[in-house]
Protein backbone atom coordinates (compact mmCIF):
# COMPACT_ATOMS: atom_id res chain seq x y z
CA UNK A 1 0.00 0.00 0.00
CA UNK A 2 1.03 3.61 -0.45
CA UNK A 3 1.28 6.02 2.46
CA UNK A 4 1.78 9.78 2.42
CA UNK A 5 2.49 11.79 5.54
CA UNK A 6 4.29 14.94 6.60
CA UNK A 7 7.48 14.30 8.55
CA UNK A 8 9.27 17.33 10.00
CA UNK A 9 7.36 19.61 7.60
CA UNK A 10 8.29 17.54 4.52
CA UNK A 11 5.69 15.48 2.69
CA UNK A 12 6.85 11.93 2.03
CA UNK A 13 5.24 9.09 0.08
CA UNK A 14 6.38 5.48 0.28
CA UNK A 15 5.17 2.03 -0.67
CA UNK A 16 4.83 0.03 2.57
CA UNK A 17 3.37 -3.12 4.08
CA UNK A 18 0.29 -2.57 6.25
CA UNK A 19 2.06 -4.13 9.22
CA UNK A 20 5.01 -1.71 9.13
CA UNK A 21 5.41 0.14 12.41
CA UNK A 22 5.95 3.89 12.41
CA UNK A 23 9.34 3.57 14.17
CA UNK A 24 10.68 1.34 11.39
CA UNK A 25 9.16 3.56 8.70
CA UNK A 26 11.04 6.54 10.13
CA UNK A 27 14.32 4.70 10.63
CA UNK A 28 14.47 2.29 7.70
CA UNK A 29 12.44 4.00 4.99
CA UNK A 30 13.31 7.63 5.72
CA UNK A 31 16.72 7.15 7.35
CA UNK A 32 15.67 9.21 10.37
CA UNK A 33 17.58 7.15 12.92
CA UNK A 34 17.32 9.76 15.65
CA UNK A 35 14.13 8.03 16.77
CA UNK A 36 15.35 4.99 18.64
CA UNK A 37 13.85 1.55 18.66
CA UNK A 38 13.91 -0.02 22.11
CA UNK A 39 11.61 -2.40 23.92
CA UNK A 40 9.07 -2.97 21.13
CA UNK A 41 6.33 -3.17 23.76
CA UNK A 42 5.45 0.51 24.39
CA UNK A 43 7.16 0.42 27.77
CA UNK A 44 10.49 2.21 27.33
CA UNK A 45 9.52 5.32 25.36
CA UNK A 46 12.72 5.82 23.40
CA UNK A 47 10.63 5.71 20.18
CA UNK A 48 8.42 8.68 21.15
CA UNK A 49 7.60 11.01 18.24
CA UNK A 50 4.76 13.45 17.76
CA UNK A 51 1.68 12.53 15.80
CA UNK A 52 -0.28 15.71 15.10
CA UNK A 53 1.61 17.38 17.94
CA UNK A 54 0.97 14.69 20.59
CA UNK A 55 3.73 12.39 21.84
CA UNK A 56 3.12 8.76 20.85
CA UNK A 57 5.16 5.57 21.10
CA UNK A 58 5.99 4.88 17.46
CA UNK A 59 6.67 1.16 18.08
CA UNK A 60 2.95 0.79 18.70
CA UNK A 61 1.59 2.93 15.89
CA UNK A 62 1.30 1.59 12.35
CA UNK A 63 2.98 3.72 9.70
CA UNK A 64 -0.30 3.44 7.78
CA UNK A 65 -2.14 5.08 10.70
CA UNK A 66 0.06 8.15 10.30
CA UNK A 67 -1.01 8.52 6.66
CA UNK A 68 -2.36 12.02 6.07
CA UNK A 69 -1.04 13.18 9.44
CA UNK A 70 1.89 15.21 10.70
CA UNK A 71 4.82 13.50 12.36
CA UNK A 72 7.67 15.26 14.11
CA UNK A 73 10.83 13.51 15.21
CA UNK A 74 13.89 14.57 17.19
CA UNK A 75 15.47 15.64 13.88
CA UNK A 76 12.72 18.26 13.66
CA UNK A 77 13.46 19.90 17.04
CA UNK A 78 16.35 22.21 16.16
CA UNK A 79 15.84 25.21 13.91
CA UNK A 80 18.77 24.84 11.56
CA UNK A 81 21.93 25.12 13.64
CA UNK A 82 20.02 26.55 16.60
CA UNK A 83 19.19 23.88 19.17
CA UNK A 84 15.77 23.83 20.77
CA UNK A 85 16.00 24.99 24.42
CA UNK A 86 15.18 21.42 25.47
CA UNK A 87 18.18 20.13 23.55
CA UNK A 88 20.35 22.89 25.00
CA UNK A 89 19.02 22.05 28.49
CA UNK A 90 19.97 18.38 28.13
CA UNK A 91 23.42 19.51 27.00
CA UNK A 92 23.93 22.01 29.81
CA UNK A 93 22.58 19.86 32.64
CA UNK A 94 23.89 16.44 31.60
CA UNK A 95 20.39 15.17 30.79
CA UNK A 96 21.95 12.20 29.08
CA UNK A 97 24.81 9.78 29.40
CA UNK A 98 24.48 6.97 26.86
CA UNK A 99 21.83 8.89 24.91
CA UNK A 100 19.57 5.97 24.09
CA UNK A 101 16.45 7.34 25.78
CA UNK A 102 17.22 10.95 24.87
CA UNK A 103 15.24 11.43 21.63
CA UNK A 104 12.05 10.15 23.23
CA UNK A 105 12.68 12.08 26.44
CA UNK A 106 13.21 15.32 24.54
CA UNK A 107 10.10 14.91 22.39
CA UNK A 108 7.94 14.30 25.46
CA UNK A 109 9.53 17.15 27.44
CA UNK A 110 9.19 19.59 24.51
CA UNK A 111 5.48 18.73 24.29
CA UNK A 112 5.17 19.21 28.07
CA UNK A 113 6.70 22.69 27.93
CA UNK A 114 4.47 23.65 25.01
CA UNK A 115 1.44 22.93 27.19
CA UNK A 116 2.87 23.86 30.54
CA UNK A 117 5.79 26.31 30.27
CA UNK A 118 6.60 26.20 34.01
CA UNK A 119 6.09 22.63 35.20
CA UNK A 120 6.90 21.46 38.71
CA UNK A 121 9.40 18.64 39.20
CA UNK A 122 6.45 16.35 39.95
CA UNK A 123 4.78 17.31 36.68
CA UNK A 124 7.98 16.62 34.74
CA UNK A 125 8.34 13.23 36.45
CA UNK A 126 4.73 12.41 35.62
CA UNK A 127 5.21 13.42 31.96
CA UNK A 128 8.18 11.07 31.51
CA UNK A 129 6.79 8.28 33.70
CA UNK A 130 6.26 6.11 30.63
CA UNK A 131 9.90 6.36 29.61
CA UNK A 132 12.95 4.63 30.95
CA UNK A 133 16.45 6.05 31.49
CA UNK A 134 19.08 3.72 32.94
CA UNK A 135 21.89 6.27 33.22
CA UNK A 136 20.79 9.49 34.83
CA UNK A 137 18.45 8.42 37.60
CA UNK A 138 16.17 11.02 36.01
CA UNK A 139 17.38 13.88 38.24
CA UNK A 140 19.49 15.52 35.55
CA UNK A 141 16.64 15.11 33.06
CA UNK A 142 14.38 17.04 35.45
CA UNK A 143 17.09 19.70 35.77
CA UNK A 144 17.43 19.87 31.97
CA UNK A 145 13.72 20.53 31.54
CA UNK A 146 13.83 23.16 34.31
CA UNK A 147 16.77 24.79 32.49
CA UNK A 148 14.77 24.96 29.27
CA UNK A 149 11.73 26.29 31.09
CA UNK A 150 13.67 29.06 32.83
CA UNK A 151 15.60 30.06 29.71
CA UNK A 152 12.50 30.12 27.54
CA UNK A 153 10.72 32.32 30.07
CA UNK A 154 13.72 34.68 30.16
CA UNK A 155 13.90 34.80 26.36
CA UNK A 156 10.20 35.64 26.20
CA UNK A 157 10.61 38.44 28.73
CA UNK A 158 13.46 39.85 26.71
CA UNK A 159 11.32 39.76 23.58
CA UNK A 160 8.58 41.66 25.40
CA UNK A 161 11.06 44.20 26.75
CA UNK A 162 12.47 44.83 23.28
CA UNK A 163 9.04 45.20 21.68
Amino acid sequence: MQVTMTVNDVEVTREIEGRLLLVHFLRDHLGLTGTHWGCDTSNCGTCVVWLDGEPVKSCTVLAAMAGGHEVRTVEGLAKGAELDPIQEGFRQCHGLQCGFCTPGMMMTCRALLDKNPDPTDAEIREAISGQICRCTGYSTIIRSVRWASVHEAAAKQEEVAQA
Binding site: L21, D40, T41, G45, A64, M65, T108, S129
Partner: protein, 293 residues
Protein backbone atom coordinates in the same frame (compact mmCIF):
# COMPACT_ATOMS: atom_id res chain seq x y z
CA UNK B 1 12.28 -7.36 16.03
CA UNK B 2 8.62 -7.88 16.86
CA UNK B 3 6.23 -7.23 14.01
CA UNK B 4 2.71 -8.47 13.43
CA UNK B 5 2.05 -11.10 10.79
CA UNK B 6 1.03 -9.61 7.43
CA UNK B 7 -2.47 -8.12 7.21
CA UNK B 8 -4.39 -5.77 4.98
CA UNK B 9 -4.89 -2.28 6.37
CA UNK B 10 -8.27 -0.65 5.86
CA UNK B 11 -9.26 2.79 7.03
CA UNK B 12 -12.84 3.48 8.09
CA UNK B 13 -14.36 6.83 7.19
CA UNK B 14 -17.63 6.54 9.15
CA UNK B 15 -19.06 4.21 11.79
CA UNK B 16 -21.32 2.57 9.23
CA UNK B 17 -18.41 2.18 6.82
CA UNK B 18 -16.49 0.35 9.57
CA UNK B 19 -19.47 -1.89 10.27
CA UNK B 20 -19.89 -2.51 6.53
CA UNK B 21 -16.27 -3.66 6.34
CA UNK B 22 -16.79 -5.92 9.37
CA UNK B 23 -19.91 -7.35 7.80
CA UNK B 24 -17.99 -8.20 4.65
CA UNK B 25 -14.78 -9.44 6.27
CA UNK B 26 -16.24 -11.20 9.33
CA UNK B 27 -13.96 -12.68 11.98
CA UNK B 28 -10.87 -12.24 9.77
CA UNK B 29 -11.02 -8.51 10.55
CA UNK B 30 -10.51 -6.54 13.71
CA UNK B 31 -11.03 -2.88 14.55
CA UNK B 32 -7.97 -1.02 15.79
CA UNK B 33 -8.16 2.27 17.66
CA UNK B 34 -5.24 3.21 19.96
CA UNK B 35 -3.69 -0.16 19.22
CA UNK B 36 -1.78 -0.35 22.50
CA UNK B 37 -3.34 -3.67 23.45
CA UNK B 38 -4.00 -5.16 20.02
CA UNK B 39 -0.68 -4.41 18.30
CA UNK B 40 1.47 -5.91 21.11
CA UNK B 41 -0.72 -9.04 20.99
CA UNK B 42 -0.32 -9.21 17.21
CA UNK B 43 3.44 -8.77 17.52
CA UNK B 44 3.53 -11.78 19.84
CA UNK B 45 1.21 -13.62 17.42
CA UNK B 46 -1.28 -14.09 20.23
CA UNK B 47 -3.74 -12.45 17.86
CA UNK B 48 -3.72 -12.73 14.07
CA UNK B 49 -6.10 -11.01 11.70
CA UNK B 50 -6.15 -10.80 7.92
CA UNK B 51 -7.53 -7.28 8.06
CA UNK B 52 -7.15 -4.39 10.47
CA UNK B 53 -9.73 -1.64 10.20
CA UNK B 54 -8.32 1.63 11.51
CA UNK B 55 -11.10 3.58 13.22
CA UNK B 56 -8.97 6.50 14.40
CA UNK B 57 -10.49 8.68 11.64
CA UNK B 58 -13.82 8.29 13.50
CA UNK B 59 -12.54 10.26 16.49
CA UNK B 60 -14.55 13.30 15.46
CA UNK B 61 -17.70 11.16 15.35
CA UNK B 62 -17.01 9.03 18.42
CA UNK B 63 -14.70 11.11 20.60
CA UNK B 64 -16.99 12.98 22.98
CA UNK B 65 -18.23 13.31 26.56
CA UNK B 66 -21.86 14.50 26.64
CA UNK B 67 -24.06 15.30 29.60
CA UNK B 68 -27.77 14.75 29.17
CA UNK B 69 -28.76 15.42 32.78
CA UNK B 70 -29.58 11.88 33.82
CA UNK B 71 -26.73 10.28 31.88
CA UNK B 72 -23.17 10.86 30.81
CA UNK B 73 -22.55 9.54 27.31
CA UNK B 74 -18.97 8.86 26.31
CA UNK B 75 -18.04 8.04 22.73
CA UNK B 76 -16.05 4.84 22.30
CA UNK B 77 -13.12 6.64 20.67
CA UNK B 78 -12.65 9.07 23.56
CA UNK B 79 -9.00 8.79 24.50
CA UNK B 80 -7.64 8.22 28.00
CA UNK B 81 -6.13 11.70 28.05
CA UNK B 82 -9.51 13.23 27.24
CA UNK B 83 -11.17 11.29 30.07
CA UNK B 84 -8.40 12.39 32.44
CA UNK B 85 -8.54 16.05 31.47
CA UNK B 86 -12.32 16.54 31.45
CA UNK B 87 -13.20 18.69 34.48
CA UNK B 88 -16.92 18.17 33.79
CA UNK B 89 -16.50 14.40 33.92
CA UNK B 90 -14.39 14.62 37.08
CA UNK B 91 -17.08 16.78 38.72
CA UNK B 92 -19.78 14.15 38.14
CA UNK B 93 -17.68 10.97 38.33
CA UNK B 94 -14.30 11.61 40.00
CA UNK B 95 -13.66 7.87 39.72
CA UNK B 96 -12.70 8.40 36.05
CA UNK B 97 -9.94 10.85 36.92
CA UNK B 98 -8.74 8.66 39.82
CA UNK B 99 -8.41 5.73 37.42
CA UNK B 100 -7.02 7.61 34.43
CA UNK B 101 -4.18 9.00 36.52
CA UNK B 102 -2.88 5.45 36.95
CA UNK B 103 -3.79 3.87 33.61
CA UNK B 104 -0.66 3.18 31.54
CA UNK B 105 1.44 6.36 31.19
CA UNK B 106 0.82 9.84 29.73
CA UNK B 107 2.14 8.97 26.26
CA UNK B 108 0.09 5.78 25.98
CA UNK B 109 -2.93 7.73 27.24
CA UNK B 110 -2.64 9.95 24.15
CA UNK B 111 -3.60 6.93 22.04
CA UNK B 112 -5.65 4.45 24.08
CA UNK B 113 -9.44 4.73 24.01
CA UNK B 114 -12.38 3.90 26.26
CA UNK B 115 -13.90 1.57 23.67
CA UNK B 116 -10.62 -0.20 23.02
CA UNK B 117 -10.09 -0.75 26.74
CA UNK B 118 -13.54 -2.24 27.27
CA UNK B 119 -13.37 -4.40 24.13
CA UNK B 120 -9.95 -5.75 25.08
CA UNK B 121 -11.74 -7.07 28.19
CA UNK B 122 -8.53 -7.77 30.03
CA UNK B 123 -9.35 -8.90 33.58
CA UNK B 124 -6.80 -6.35 34.87
CA UNK B 125 -8.13 -3.46 32.84
CA UNK B 126 -9.14 -0.46 34.93
CA UNK B 127 -11.86 1.24 32.87
CA UNK B 128 -13.89 -1.98 32.83
CA UNK B 129 -13.84 -1.87 36.64
CA UNK B 130 -14.82 1.82 36.58
CA UNK B 131 -17.75 1.17 34.23
CA UNK B 132 -18.83 -1.84 36.28
CA UNK B 133 -18.70 0.25 39.45
CA UNK B 134 -20.87 2.95 37.90
CA UNK B 135 -23.40 0.50 36.44
CA UNK B 136 -22.65 1.72 32.92
CA UNK B 137 -24.17 0.30 29.78
CA UNK B 138 -22.65 -0.18 26.35
CA UNK B 139 -24.22 0.79 23.04
CA UNK B 140 -23.34 -1.77 20.37
CA UNK B 141 -24.11 -0.97 16.76
CA UNK B 142 -24.51 -3.53 14.01
CA UNK B 143 -25.39 -3.79 10.32
CA UNK B 144 -28.20 -1.55 9.10
CA UNK B 145 -27.75 0.84 12.01
CA UNK B 146 -29.29 -1.62 14.50
CA UNK B 147 -28.30 -0.69 18.05
CA UNK B 148 -28.54 -2.63 21.27
CA UNK B 149 -27.71 -1.54 24.78
CA UNK B 150 -26.19 -4.03 27.24
CA UNK B 151 -25.07 -3.69 30.85
CA UNK B 152 -21.44 -4.32 31.82
CA UNK B 153 -22.23 -7.79 33.22
CA UNK B 154 -23.63 -8.84 29.89
CA UNK B 155 -20.95 -6.99 27.93
CA UNK B 156 -18.14 -8.94 29.57
CA UNK B 157 -18.51 -12.52 28.41
CA UNK B 158 -15.12 -13.64 29.70
CA UNK B 159 -11.44 -12.73 29.62
CA UNK B 160 -10.75 -10.99 26.28
CA UNK B 161 -14.29 -11.76 25.19
CA UNK B 162 -17.24 -9.37 24.94
CA UNK B 163 -20.81 -9.34 23.70
CA UNK B 164 -19.73 -7.41 20.60
CA UNK B 165 -20.32 -9.62 17.54
CA UNK B 166 -18.01 -9.99 14.53
CA UNK B 167 -20.03 -7.44 12.53
CA UNK B 168 -20.70 -5.09 15.43
CA UNK B 169 -18.96 -2.17 17.07
CA UNK B 170 -19.06 -0.61 20.53
CA UNK B 171 -19.89 3.02 19.87
CA UNK B 172 -20.83 4.57 23.21
CA UNK B 173 -20.80 4.03 26.96
CA UNK B 174 -23.68 5.45 28.99
CA UNK B 175 -23.31 6.12 32.69
CA UNK B 176 -26.43 6.88 34.71
CA UNK B 177 -26.25 10.00 36.90
CA UNK B 178 -28.07 9.63 40.22
CA UNK B 179 -28.42 12.26 42.95
CA UNK B 180 -26.14 12.56 45.99
CA UNK B 181 -23.46 10.30 44.53
CA UNK B 182 -19.73 9.98 45.09
CA UNK B 183 -17.14 7.70 43.55
CA UNK B 184 -13.46 6.78 43.86
CA UNK B 185 -10.81 4.46 42.44
CA UNK B 186 -7.60 3.07 43.87
CA UNK B 187 -4.95 0.93 42.25
CA UNK B 188 -1.87 -0.76 43.60
CA UNK B 189 0.77 -1.22 40.91
CA UNK B 190 4.42 -2.22 41.04
CA UNK B 191 5.64 0.74 39.00
CA UNK B 192 4.27 3.58 36.87
CA UNK B 193 2.38 2.33 33.84
CA UNK B 194 2.04 -1.26 35.00
CA UNK B 195 -1.10 -3.34 35.18
CA UNK B 196 -2.82 -3.41 38.55
CA UNK B 197 -1.77 -5.81 41.26
CA UNK B 198 -5.34 -5.12 42.38
CA UNK B 199 -7.66 -2.19 41.71
CA UNK B 200 -10.97 -1.28 43.31
CA UNK B 201 -13.64 1.23 42.45
CA UNK B 202 -16.56 2.32 44.63
CA UNK B 203 -19.64 4.41 43.98
CA UNK B 204 -22.05 5.46 46.71
CA UNK B 205 -25.38 7.27 46.58
CA UNK B 206 -26.72 8.72 49.82
CA UNK B 207 -30.34 9.07 50.92
CA UNK B 208 -31.73 12.26 52.46
CA UNK B 209 -31.08 10.93 55.97
CA UNK B 210 -27.41 10.26 55.20
CA UNK B 211 -27.71 6.49 54.93
CA UNK B 212 -26.53 4.59 51.88
CA UNK B 213 -29.29 4.53 49.27
CA UNK B 214 -27.17 2.41 46.97
CA UNK B 215 -23.53 1.46 46.52
CA UNK B 216 -21.45 -0.53 44.08
CA UNK B 217 -17.92 -1.89 44.14
CA UNK B 218 -15.94 -3.11 41.12
CA UNK B 219 -12.59 -4.90 41.25
CA UNK B 220 -9.91 -5.48 38.64
CA UNK B 221 -7.10 -8.06 38.43
CA UNK B 222 -8.62 -10.48 40.93
CA UNK B 223 -10.33 -13.01 38.71
CA UNK B 224 -11.13 -14.04 35.19
CA UNK B 225 -13.62 -11.26 34.75
CA UNK B 226 -14.46 -7.79 35.95
CA UNK B 227 -17.81 -7.94 37.65
CA UNK B 228 -19.64 -6.11 40.34
CA UNK B 229 -20.26 -7.71 43.72
CA UNK B 230 -24.01 -7.56 44.44
CA UNK B 231 -23.50 -8.86 47.98
CA UNK B 232 -21.55 -5.71 48.84
CA UNK B 233 -24.33 -3.49 47.53
CA UNK B 234 -26.88 -5.43 49.62
CA UNK B 235 -24.71 -5.14 52.74
CA UNK B 236 -24.33 -1.38 52.38
CA UNK B 237 -27.85 -0.33 51.40
CA UNK B 238 -29.91 1.27 54.13
CA UNK B 239 -26.98 1.58 56.54
CA UNK B 240 -25.26 4.67 57.86
CA UNK B 241 -21.75 5.01 56.41
CA UNK B 242 -19.15 3.96 59.00
CA UNK B 243 -15.73 2.33 59.22
CA UNK B 244 -17.22 -0.98 60.37
CA UNK B 245 -19.47 -0.98 57.30
CA UNK B 246 -16.53 -0.38 54.93
CA UNK B 247 -14.65 -3.15 56.67
CA UNK B 248 -17.56 -5.52 56.24
CA UNK B 249 -17.72 -4.64 52.53
CA UNK B 250 -13.97 -5.20 52.24
CA UNK B 251 -14.30 -8.63 53.80
CA UNK B 252 -16.99 -9.54 51.27
CA UNK B 253 -14.75 -8.29 48.44
CA UNK B 254 -11.82 -10.38 49.69
CA UNK B 255 -13.81 -13.59 49.82
CA UNK B 256 -15.80 -12.94 46.63
CA UNK B 257 -12.81 -12.48 44.35
CA UNK B 258 -10.67 -15.14 42.75
CA UNK B 259 -7.06 -13.93 42.43
CA UNK B 260 -4.14 -16.11 41.35
CA UNK B 261 -0.58 -16.03 42.59
CA UNK B 262 1.71 -14.56 39.93
CA UNK B 263 4.74 -12.28 39.63
CA UNK B 264 2.63 -9.35 40.86
CA UNK B 265 1.85 -10.98 44.18
CA UNK B 266 0.37 -13.93 46.03
CA UNK B 267 -3.33 -14.67 46.00
CA UNK B 268 -3.40 -13.91 49.74
CA UNK B 269 -1.79 -10.51 49.25
CA UNK B 270 -4.27 -9.71 46.48
CA UNK B 271 -7.19 -10.65 48.72
CA UNK B 272 -5.75 -8.35 51.36
CA UNK B 273 -5.58 -5.57 48.75
CA UNK B 274 -9.16 -6.23 47.62
CA UNK B 275 -10.24 -5.81 51.24
CA UNK B 276 -8.20 -2.69 51.92
CA UNK B 277 -8.86 -0.94 48.58
CA UNK B 278 -12.59 -1.57 48.91
CA UNK B 279 -12.50 0.12 52.34
CA UNK B 280 -10.47 3.07 51.08
CA UNK B 281 -12.57 3.71 47.98
CA UNK B 282 -15.85 3.41 49.88
CA UNK B 283 -14.55 5.87 52.49
CA UNK B 284 -13.52 8.34 49.79
CA UNK B 285 -16.71 7.87 47.76
CA UNK B 286 -18.82 8.66 50.85
CA UNK B 287 -16.71 11.75 51.62
CA UNK B 288 -17.21 12.93 48.06
CA UNK B 289 -20.95 12.20 48.11
CA UNK B 290 -21.25 14.27 51.28
CA UNK B 291 -19.29 17.18 49.83
CA UNK B 292 -21.29 17.18 46.61
CA UNK B 293 -18.81 15.40 44.33
Amino acid sequence: MQVPAPFEYERATTVDHAIGLLERLGSSARLVAGGHSLLPMMKLRLANFEYLIDINPLHEELGYIRFTGDEVRVGALTRHRELLESDELAAVFPIFRDAERVIADPVVRNRGTLGGSLCQADPSEDLSAVCTTLGASCVIRGPGGAERVVGMEEFHVGPYETAVGDDEMLIEVRVPVRPAGGSAYEKVERRAGDWAVVSAGAAVWLAGDGTVADARVGLAAVGPNTTGIPEISAALRGNAPAEELYDQAGAIAARSCDPVTDQRGSADYKRHLAHELTRRTLRKAVERARSGH
